[in-house]
């Protein structure tokens, strides 16, 4: 029923909105009125609860208004309205399916409102909304509840992390996923977890555990939700962070505008807001970067998880998931295997079935295979797969794209486990660089250059290249055996050592120059300032301050001189010895100060820059660029096949149109700009206004011009010439005099 017209009498008195306003302004004086309305609310509630399904529209409307009023002032009369939250909860939980839509939304809104007024706590709000969210058949209510749940969780975590609340909700979600593995209800757990992960509200292992359970569910939707979280959740999080930092405020512009424009409270507020935002951003910039681990690293027992996931969804022949979902699951499994270096041997034999060119989206399978390979996988397990790929994909008869993809896939696998290749196969594959197709050539050359570095013996002599041959002869390139690991250390420590020696030598030279100028007081006293990164100026400025940098090494050297047994690390005479031993002993014999660590990082960066500029091989550069967390995608496999292909006209057109303003109809650039300006609510220029001016309005001025005297005309002409000389009215490019 539509709203009935409100009579004049009612407008004056029976206006709940104005009553609410008055109550909020002076709660003590209006206690009586509120009590009346509380009674009215109670009566309406009884009427409604007696038969929620058959309540008349009028009653529902009245109840709706009263619920609204009480919610807005509930915090002012806590004793009187103590039962109110329970009323709402009961109403929502028991009758959400039959409630009128508006009333339902009002009840949800009121609950959120009294939560914001701290009448109830977040836990009780969320535990009320959550069961309704997963059980209601109404789409609109679901989306409303979802939004409210997320916003409440955000709000209660905004100042400090509310660990207790988070734990409660995470447990609820975990239970939701694990209690009934066949139902789609787990979807909500994955959606909520993913959203909060994206917003960096939940960053610990517990939400990952929820997602892990979701991945092991029986329901396809839930499984895919969980899997996609692990595959894309972290990237999403990074993007979100980038987006939020993008919208920067031009503070200069804002300040300038407030000077020019008319002053008003609204504008003043806008300026304040902009300033606040800038401050916040600066604070954010200075704040240490939150140490967020990727979800894949936070998984507890990755081996067990990967095995279960593989057995349940992939190996199981009764599984009827769509190919797309299966591919996503496979991607996750192989990613876990590659990242954590897990051993799931049955995975590789399972792959064999899918490695044929006719298999749908076979490039994804190939990428997954490459992703799931690491240096601890036994070569015996992969070799048959490599042979199979070579047989199925790479032949003279197969299409060039297929061959290119096959060779590239083999290369991707071989990057990770070079021992999987046998000599005849490699020699055969390398010879494809004589092919006519560019993609195949590039792929084969890629394989060749890889093996030149990692295992040149396998290549024929003529394909080895100069460097590899010389390396083999000198014994520099050594073949690494299965499972062999490179002895690790602190990356760049030798750079730091070298740097320190240089500084030491410099200082010695200076001392000799200055004679006995050196003050002993500085030598023996340990300067605590040099521990602090911020106070140390030697990092940013030039060399002469660096003299102080090795003062903290002085005690060590002094001690070393007295004690002949201890290795003299910084002594020049023993430098060649320390160089001979590949491992630097600096880290094991002295404590690195924060200043040292910073210098180390700086030196490392410098070295990397050198590498990137040249010297390092293509493959190494590629490996540097590609972060370990990023997996191999089907695009990587397909890449060489696209080389040397001409793009179609449509593709070129799309490329050209990318990033340009939309041009639905045929319009000039001017017109597009103009309409854009209009849409932004900007005004026209003075020039444009003058051009559009009504003809009749200009008539008077024109007539006046004709009636001018000679002197007046001359004056005007002169002024015109002078103006032109000074570059026009706006003095474009010419100085004013």
């Amino acid at each position: 029923m539509p709203k009935r017209k409100v009579a004049a009498l009612e407008k004056v008195e029976a206006d709940l909105a104005s009553l609410q306003y008055r109550i909020r302004r002076d709660p003590k004086s209006y206690a009586q009125e509120f009590y009346d309305q509380w009674l009215a609310y109670d009566a309406q509630r009884q009427i409604f609860m007696a038969s929620p399904t058959t309540a008349s529209n009028d009653d529902v409307k009245k109840f709706h208004d009263l619920v609204d009023l009480v919610a807005h002032v509930a915090d002012l009369y806590p004793e009187l309205t103590a039962a109110y939250p329970d009323h709402l909860k009961e109403l929502l939980i028991r009758h959400h399916a039959v409630l009128d839509r508006e009333l339902r939304e009002k009840v949800v809104g009121s609950l959120v409102l009294i939560r914001r007024k701290d009448v109830i706590d977040s836990t009780s709000l969320l535990t009320t909304l959550f069961p309704v969210l997963i059980s209601t058949p109404s789409k609109s209510l679901r989306s409303l509840l979802y939004a409210k749940i997320i916003s409440d969780l955000r709000e209660s975590n905004s100042k400090t992390t509310n660990h207790r609340l988070n734990r409660t909700i995470q447990t609820v979600l975990h239970n939701l996923v694990t209690s009934d593995r066949t139902s789609t209800k787990g979807m909500w757990a994955t959606r909520i977890t993913r959203e909060l992960w994206r917003r960096q509200i939940w960053t610990d292992a517990k939400p990952c555990d929820v997602m892990k359970e979701a991945c092991l569910s029986d329901n396809e939707k839930v499984v895919v939700g969980g899997v996609r979280f692990f595959l894309g959740g972290d990237k999403e999080r990074e993007q979100m962070e980038d987006d939020s930092s993008d919208d920067e405020v031009d503070i200069k512009k804002v300040k300038h505008q407030i000077e020019i424009n008319k002053k008003s409270k609204k504008r003043q507020k806008a300026v304040e807001r902009a300033l606040e935002k800038v401050k916040k951003q600066e604070r954010k910039k200075k704040a240490p970067h939150p140490l967020n681990f990727s979800a894949l690293h936070l998984i507890n027992d990755p081996q067990g998880f990967a095995e279960k996931l593989f057995q349940k969804h992939l190996q199981n022949t009764k599984n009827r998931f769509a190919l797309e979902s299966k591919l996503a699951i496979l991607q996750l499994v192989t990613r876990l295997v590659g990242l954590h270096k897990l051993t799931v041997l049955s995975l590789y034999s399972w792959f064999a079935r899918y490695l044929t060119p006719k298999q749908a989206s076979v490039t994804s399978f190939l990428a997954s295979l490459a992703q799931g390979t690491h240096d601890l996988v036994p070569p015996d397990a992969i070799e048959p797969l490599i042979v199979k790929i070579a047989n199925e994909f790479v032949s003279e008869a197969s299409a060039s794209e297929v061959a290119a993809a096959g060779i590239n896939a083999i290369r991707e696998v071989a990057i990770r486990q070079p021992l999987c290749m046998n000599e005849t196969l490699l020699q055969d594959l390398v010879q494809y660089q004589k092919s006519k197709d560019k993609g195949v050539v590039m792929a084969a050359k890629g394989l060749q250059s890889l093996y030149r570095e990692v295992y040149p013996e396998l290549l024929q002599r003529k394909y080895r290249g100069k460097e590899a041959t010389m390396g083999l002869r000198s014994g520099e390139t050594k073949q690494r055996k299965f499972g062999e690991q490179e002895a690790g250390g602190i990356e760049g420590i030798e750079l730091l050592e070298k740097y320190k020696d240089e500084q030491k030598a410099k200082k010695l030279a200076e001392k000799e120059e200055g004679g006995d100028k050196a003050d002993d007081s500085d030598d023996d006293g340990f300067n605590s300032d040099e521990w602090e990164v911020g106070s140390d100026t030697s990092m940013s400025s030039g060399g002469w301050i660096n003299v102080s940098d090795d003062e903290d090494d002085e005690p060590a050297t002094k001690r070393a001189k007295t004690d002949s047994e201890a290795p003299d690390l910084v002594g020049a005479e023993k430098l060649d010895v320390s160089e001979a031993t590949s491992l630097s002993k600096l880290a094991t014999t002295s404590i690195l100060t924060p200043a040292d660590l910073l210098k180390l990082q700086e030196l490392r960066m410098e070295a990397n820059v050198d590498k990137a500029l040249g010297g390092a091989s293509k493959r190494k550069k590629e490996l540097i660029q590609r972060h370990i967390d990023e997996g191999v995608t089907a695009d990587d496999i397909e890449l060489p096949a696209t080389l040397g292909k001409k793009t179609t006209k449509e593709e070129r057109r799309a490329l050209a149109a990318d990033g340009k303003p939309g041009r639905e109809e045929h319009k000039s650039t001017q017109a597009i700009r103009k309409s854009k300006k209009e849409a932004e609510g900007k005004s026209t220029t003075n020039k444009e206004k003058a051009r559009k001016k009504n003809f009749l309005m200009t008539l008077g001025k024109a007539r006046q011009k004709n009636k001018r005297s000679l002197t007046e005309t001359r004056r005007a002409l002169k002024a015109h010439v002078a103006k032109a000389k000074s570059g026009g009215r706006r003095a474009n490019g010419v100085s004013a005099n």
Binding site: P2, A7, E13, A43, Q46
Partner: protein, 340 residues
């Protein structure tokens, strides 16, 4: 110059023939109606009032629906008048039954039009008391809602309805769930004799403010006197001594084997409803009503009544009636205690 040109063009336009172009759609005619929209439902603005070809039953139902749903005050009023006529006719014509009519028209207790409310009361009075009695709890809910309404007139009218209800079914009113304490709550808030609000908003400082709020300041003595009068009637109904039922030898067997004649005979057990608090509890007998009244309300109502007595005039007179009722209850209570 410009405007005259414009006018000329405009005049010409009427007689120009529209040019047809190849590949372009024909221009729409001036009286073209766009029928491309779709609608899921059609709302009819007017309802038919034709009643020639309707039989009595249909007509009654139509009027019932009009009384509730019509937007026009007059139509609602007229429909209610029709219903009253039909019900009070001899023999009464009521195809939907009293409780059916009640369910529909009860929301009108807080209707915005005064004429409708008056008519509604007339309709109520026309209903047979025996059929009203089972519905007392439901009616009371609406009456209490109206008694707490923001509009003064509606509050006053609600008291009239309550008066009728006490007349027709006094015992049921005071003994149904929530009928005793909740109604007293509503009365006290209407009269401003309210202990619970004072407690909840206890003033911390040493000053006290006189009540200067909406209701109290705009209180009209006549209306207040009426409220007090109806309160007295209500209390009298609550304190009325129960007549001892005469002994019948059949009663014992009836109790065991006969179906109960009253609606909801085991209501006091509250087997299927939500648990009740003190306010919404049933107080089925006089003694229990007296007990909770003494504990919760006697002090507040007595002090309020004393104040009203001092005002004198209409209010004072009705307060005196109330005083009599209260005293009577005390005497009777004593007598009951002495007897028991």
């Amino acid at each position: 110059m410009g405007s005259s040109n414009k006018k000329k063009k405009e005049k010409k336009k009427d007689f120009q023939k529209a040019k047809l172009k190849v590949g372009k759609a024909k221009a729409k005619a001036a009286n073209f109606t766009d029928t491309s929209f779709k609608s899921k439902s059609i709302v009819v603005n007017q309802q038919t009032v034709a009643d020639e070809d309707l039989d009595a039953t249909e007509q009654f139902k139509q009027n019932l629906s009009l009384a509730v749903n019509s937007k026009s005050d007059n139509q609602r009023r007229d429909a209610l008048a029709y219903l009253t006529n039909q019900i009070s006719a001899k023999p009464p014509n009521n195809p939907v039954g009293t409780s059916g009519v009640l369910t529909k028209v009860l929301p009108l207790v807080s209707d915005s039009s005064a004429a409708v409310r008056t008519r509604l009361l007339a309709l109520f009075r026309a209903m047979p008391p025996s059929e009203v009695q089972p519905n007392v709890e439901k009616i009371l809910m609406y009456v209490r809602g109206a008694m707490a309404h923001l509009a003064k007139d509606i509050r006053n009218e609600a008291v009239n309805v309550l008066e009728w209800l006490v007349e027709v079914a006094g015992d049921e009113v005071v003994s149904c769930p929530g009928g005793w304490l909740k109604t007293l709550n509503s009365f006290s808030s209407m009269l401003g004799w309210n202990p619970s609000v004072g407690v909840s908003m206890s003033v911390k400082g040493w000053t006290t403010s006189i009540q200067t709020t909406l209701i109290v300041s705009k209180r009209i003595p006549e209306a207040q006197a009426r409220h007090i009068q109806v309160l007295a009637q209500f209390l009298a109904a609550g304190f009325r001594a129960e007549k001892p039922t005469s002994y019948t030898p059949q009663a014992y067997w009836d109790n065991i084997y006969r179906l109960p004649a009253t609606p909801n005979p085991f209501g006091y057990l509250n087997l299927f409803g939500t648990p009740r608090d003190e306010d919404s509890e049933m107080y089925p007998d006089r003694a229990s009503r007296m007990r909770v009244f003494d504990a919760k309300w006697r002090a507040a109502i007595t002090s309020g009544m004393e104040g009203a007595k001092k005002e004198g005039g209409v209010v004072g007179r009705s307060a005196a009636t109330l005083d009599k009722t209260l005293k009577g209850s005390l005497d009777e209570g004593l007598s009951v205690n002495i007897c028991g």
